[in-house]
Structure formats: structure tokens, C-alpha cells
């Protein structure tokens, strides 16, 4: 139990925007130190809601109605804002989905990279700059000096995502939440970024909660996986056993319909309607 990093237990939430509709139904998942867990599901399944709950950035219109989020054996949901502020961006970091909007268009990359180091690690401007250069080299950016002095629009999407990965790992967090970090990128760049995240994660011994809707990506970089449908955990376990020996008909249909997981470059295909119907009955929707 000592190597347990994150333990979400019985987490339930409703959307006030959709008239109190449940968006998370008794979700449990766990993450060990240094583990990469995939969080998979179709659009609207509640993946981002879980990620946001962990980062305590849930929109006001989403209400948690039960459960715990234990990070290193302390419940994040019960913490004071002050305590949360000291953990977020420091022990827990985020790699966002869209590198287009996640960097401030009006500030240089170097300054944005230095923010976390200065605010969370109390570094001087000079020390932060030196560290930022090192970080850019770590994420395999060839001319870190130029990138430091660049504005976001001068970099490609892949480069921007590298910068954001560098920023996330800069503070040496124990948990990185990556919400679809490659969805906005081309397929070829996607693979590089996935490899990079895996490498950074291994080098730092970081636990990663990797949100995606692509089982192929799960096969490529995750150790374990949790599959969601309509806010409910359908199946979970080590990647190999879930993908090679799925227990639930929905999981089997996803694997059959989607790409072979040794060819991780296509998205999910539709699942037969009768399986979805049975699934909804099981969960108790409508």
C-alpha cells in the first residue's frame, strides 16, 4: 500500500448544466507510483471530469455528490484551497489537450516555462532560465535557446506540446494528468509525443493518468487501463489482460471495432447498437 499514489473511490458527480444528470457514477480507480494508467471512453464518458476533479478545477456546474480522491493518502476533496494550491502544479501537474490554447500567445516560451519553477520552487529568474533550457533539451528540442525566446505562434503544434510536457515535468511532480495530449496533433507527431511522455515518465518515476479515447494509444504507453461508459467504470486492469482477455462485451466490441492495438493510429469505430442497449440497461440509463 505504501507505493499507492492516487486512489479514487466511489466518486460520483452530477451536471447541473444538464438538470442534475449523473456524469460520474461510483467511479473507482487507482494509480501506483510510476504507473501509467489509461482512462478510456467515448466522448462525454466523463474522462475529463475525472481529470478535472483530481486537479480540483471542476467547473461550477459540475457537483461532486460522493466519494474520495486520495492523493498520497489525503483526500483532495476535503482539503482547504490553500493546501490544494500548494499541491496543484507542484505535486500534481497537467499536460493539456490543445497546445494551441495552452500557451499564452503574448508571452515568450522561456518566461512561461519559468513560471512554475519560480512560483512553485522559488527559483531565481536566472536559475529558472537555466533549468528551463535544460528541460527543453530533455524533451528533445534541438535549439532550446531559440525556442526560449520564441512566441508560441512561432512553434509547430508538436513543438508546443513538447514545451508543455517540459513545463509539466519541470517541477518534478509525482502525478501528471494528461488529458488527451496528442488528440490535436498529426499522427506522426502523436507517436513521438507519446514516446516522449513515456520516456519522461520513466526518467522521473512519475505516475501518469493518461486520458484518451484511443485503445491503440493505451496499448502503446499504458501499464493499466480504466474503461468508462457514461460515467461508469466498465472494465479495468493491466493493459495486457484487458486487451487480450476482455471480460465485458462492450470492451470486446471496442477492441473488435477499433484498430488492432498493434496499429495504434485510428480512432474508435461504432459499437453495435444491441451491445450499447444492454450496457445502458446494466448501468440503468433510461
Amino acid at each position: 500500500m505504501t507505493d499507492m499514489l492516487l486512489n479514487v473511490t466511489g466518486l460520483s458527480a452530477v451536471s447541473d448544466r444538464e438538470g442534475g444528470l449523473p456524469v460520474l457514477r461510483d467511479v473507482s480507480l487507482s494509480l501506483k507510483k510510476g504507473e501509467v494508467r489509461g482512462l478510456v471512453g467515448e466522448s462525454g464518458a466523463g474522462k475529463s471530469t475525472i481529470a478535472k476533479a483530481i486537479l480540483s478545477i471542476l467547473p461550477r456546474t459540475v457537483r461532486v455528490t460522493g466519494g474520495w480522491i486520495n492523493f498520497k493518502n489525503r483526500d483532495l476533496l476535503a482539503m482547504k484551497p490553500q493546501e490544494l494550491r500548494s499541491i496543484m502544479g507542484s505535486e500534481i501537474a497537467l499536460i493539456p489537450q490543445d497546445p494551441q490554447t495552452a500557451l499564452n500567445p503574448g508571452r515568450r516560451i522561456g518566461a512561461q516555462l519559468a513560471d512554475g519553477l519560480r512560483l512553485k520552487r522559488g527559483m531565481s529568474a536566472k536559475a529558472a532560465e537555466a533549468r528551463a533550457l535544460q528541460l527543453l533539451a530533455d524533451v528533445q528540442i534541438r535549439d532550446p535557446d531559440r525556442v526560449m525566446a520564441s512566441f508560441p505562434h512561432q512553434l509547430s503544434g508538436g513543438m508546443r506540446q513538447r514545451v508543455l510536457i517540459a513545463a509539466a515535468f519541470a517541477v518534478d511532480p509525482e502525478l501528471v494528468v494528461a488529458d488527451e495530449p496528442t488528440t490535436a496533433l498529426d499522427v506522426t507527431v502523436q507517436k513521438e509525443i507519446l514516446r516522449l511522455i513515456r520516456r519522461m515518465q520513466e526518467a522521473h518515476g512519475t505516475g501518469v493518468l493518461f486520458v484518451t479515447h484511443d485503445l491503440g494509444i493505451v496499448a502503446q504507453i499504458c501499464d493499466s487501463v480504466t474503461l468508462l461508459y457514461a460515467g461508469k467504470v466498465i472494465e479495468e486492469g493491466p493493459v495486457r489482460s484487458v486487451l487480450e482477455n476482455p471480460q465485458h462485451a462492450y470492451t470486446r466490441a471496442l477492441i473488435a471495432a477499433g484498430p488492432r492495438y498493434d496499429r495504434p493510429d485510428a480512432g474508435l469505430e461504432p459499437v453495435p447498437e444491441e451491445i450499447l442497449h444492454a450496457l445502458r440497461q446494466e448501468i440503468g440509463i433510461r
Binding site: 478545477i57 502544479g89 490554447t101 495552452a102 499564452n104 500567445p105 512553485k120 512566441f151 505562434h153
Partner: protein, 335 residues
């Protein structure tokens, strides 16, 4: 590339000014009212009137009058004011600096007030202060400059007579100005007594001009700030522990200024237009005040000169806004 676009702007500016000049020239001559009738002594003979008309070129056909006027303007001769009997260009150059100082001061005040309220409104979102600010600003948006002027006269001129009600400078103060930019010059020459006197004279007209612009800036800038505040980069910066004040000032503001800028530019041209009535109310000796006299006296050469000056100011403002937008946009600044 840049040279071509500048050349383009200059040509456009010339065409615009020509169009404005032509329209005003024709309008002034088709509406009723005769400048000569305003200046003749009672009992002047018809011959005297004819002589006067000929002296100001008013006996020619309309196109010929325009041609004569335009030819002279091109070489910098704006003619002679009929009512003041002085060179129009000299009159304009003498009065323009007063208006420029007034308008520029009003712009600065409007940006400071409007910007501060927008930032406070953004910081206070989801508190009761925000709807209070929005509602107040929404009402004040509808108050025009001359109403502000009258309210200020009542408040700061009559009820609490703190500031001088009229003029630009206390006439008993002695300083020989080398330029017509009194405010700037007194500051540069470190004559703070003079500077403060001029500034005190400007308080009310500046506020009257600035407040309508400030309300517009508040509304536009706050909207742009709120939009920027929900962007992912603000979320990430917040996660990194940045304070709300820094989030607004460092992360959001620089991206919100761009969208707010062009509308502010348009509103600033309205402000310059507002100097006409506001300078009148406070007897401030600028070109706006002069414009009213010129119209009352049907002083055609002076009106035409004033119109060209206002037109040129509008063009310069628009150019300035575009240049500033380019300077603030990293995409345009850094390839």
C-alpha cells in the same frame, strides 16, 4: 511590403481628405446664410458688398471657387478668415495644440479609468461587485460628454468650486511660452506652478471627454478579459500558483488589449469630435471652440480649414491604432 502599405495609407488619406473637403465645400455653399451679410456694416452700398464678395472669391462659380481654394491649400495657403481677418493656417496652428493636449489627456485618463474598472470588474467576477459595476457602467454608457460637462460644472464648479470653470490658464500667471503646447512645455521647463494651473483648468473638460470613453473601454476590455480568463493558458498558470491579480494583469490583459484597441480607436475619434461642444462649455481656447464661432459667423475659409484638420486627426488616429495593434501583436511583430 511595409513601404507599399504605408504608401497605400497615404494615398487613401489624401483621397479621404479630398472627399471630405469637397463635400464640406459644397454643403457650406448650398445651405442658406451669407458670410458677407455677417460682416458688412449697416447701410453698406451694394457696390461695397460686391467688392467684398470679390475679395473673398465668392463671386466665382462653385467649381471655380473650389479649384482656387484647393490650389492654394496644396501649397499651404488656407486663405484668410473672414470673421477674424487673419491667416487661417496661423489660427489653426495656434489653437490646435490646446485641443491636442486636451484630447490626449482625456485619452490617458479614459484608458486609466476604463482599464482600472475593467480589471477590478474581472477580479470581482462571481462576487456581488461585478453586477454592480456592470449595471452602473451600463447606465453611464448612455451619458454623453456634454451631460458629463454640465454635471461637472454643477458639482466641481458650483457646489464645490474646486476647479476653474473656464479657460486654459490663469491670465495673471506670467510665462512666455515658446510653443503653443502650454501643458507639455510648463512640465518640460519644470514650471510646476504653471503646470498645476493648466492642469486644474483641464480637469473638468478632460473628465467630460474621458468619462464616455472610459465607460466604453470598461465594457469592451472587461469582455475581452473575461474571455481570456477562461483560456487554457490561464488555467495552467493558475495551477502553477499564479495569483488572480497576476493572472489578470500578466496573462489575460496583454491578450485582451488587442481586441479592445480598435474599438477604443473609433471611440477616440468621437472624443475628438466631442471637443467642439466641451471646449465651448468650458471656454477652452482650442479648435473645437473656434469651430463653433466659425460656423456662427459663416466663416467659410476657417470652417474648411477646421474640417481638414479634424479629418487629418481622424486619419492619424486610425493609423496610430493600426500601428499600435501591430506593435502589440506578437504574430505581426515576430514573423
Amino acid at each position: 511590403m511595409i513601404a507599399i502599405s504605408i504608401l497605400n495609407r497615404l494615398i487613401m488619406a489624401a483621397v479621404t481628405l479630398f472627399g471630405v473637403a469637397l463635400i464640406v465645400f459644397v454643403l457650406l455653399r448650398v445651405v442658406p446664410g451669407d458670410p458677407i451679410a455677417m460682416m458688412i456694416a449697416p447701410g453698406a452700398s451694394p457696390a461695397d458688398i460686391l467688392a467684398l464678395r470679390a475679395r473673398y472669391g465668392l463671386d466665382l462659380s462653385l467649381p471655380a471657387q473650389f479649384g482656387v481654394w484647393l490650389q492654394a491649400v496644396v501649397i499651404g495657403d488656407f486663405g484668410t478668415s473672414i470673421s477674424l481677418r487673419r491667416d487661417v493656417l496661423e489660427l489653426l496652428l495656434g489653437r490646435l495644440p490646446a485641443t491636442l493636449e486636451l484630447a490626449f489627456a482625456a485619452l490617458v485618463v479614459a484608458v486609466l479609468i476604463g482599464g482600472a474598472v475593467a480589471v477590478i470588474g474581472t477580479l470581482s467576477r462571481r462576487t456581488p461587485l461585478e453586477p454592480a459595476i456592470d449595471a452602473t457602467n451600463g447606465v453611464l454608457l448612455a451619458v454623453p460628454d456634454f451631460v458629463w460637462a454640465l454635471a461637472l460644472v454643477l458639482l466641481l464648479g458650483v457646489l464645490f468650486p474646486i476647479f476653474p470653470l473656464s479657460g486654459r490658464i490663469d491670465p495673471t500667471l506670467s510665462i512666455d511660452f515658446a510653443t503653443p503646447f502650454y501643458l507639455a512645455e510648463s512640465l518640460v521647463r519644470l514650471r510646476f506652478d504653471i503646470f498645476l494651473d493648466i492642469a486644474a483648468h483641464m480637469v473638468m473638460p478632460v473628465l467630460a471627454l474621458a468619462l464616455p470613453l472610459a465607460t466604453v473601454i470598461t465594457r469592451i476590455l472587461k469582455e475581452a478579459l473575461l474571455e481570456a480568463m477562461v483560456q487554457d493558458y490561464v488555467l495552467l498558470a493558475r495551477l502553477k500558483g499564479m495569483s488572480e491579480v497576476r493572472l489578470v494583469l500578466q496573462e489575460a490583459l496583454r491578450n485582451a488589449i488587442g481586441p479592445a484597441l480598435s474599438l477604443t480607436g473609433v471611440q477616440f475619434t468621437f472624443l475628438v469630435g466631442g471637443t467642439v461642444i466641451v471646449e465651448r462649455i468650458f471656454s477652452y481656447p482650442g479648435i473645437g471652440n473656434m469651430a463653433i464661432d466659425a460656423v456662427i459667423n459663416r466663416d467659410l475659409p476657417l470652417i474648411q480649414g477646421l474640417v481638414l484638420v479634424f479629418g487629418a486627426i481622424f486619419i492619424v488616429i486610425n493609423l496610430g491604432v493600426d500601428l499600435l495593434a501591430a506593435a502589440l501583436n506578437p504574430r505581426l511583430r515576430h514573423g
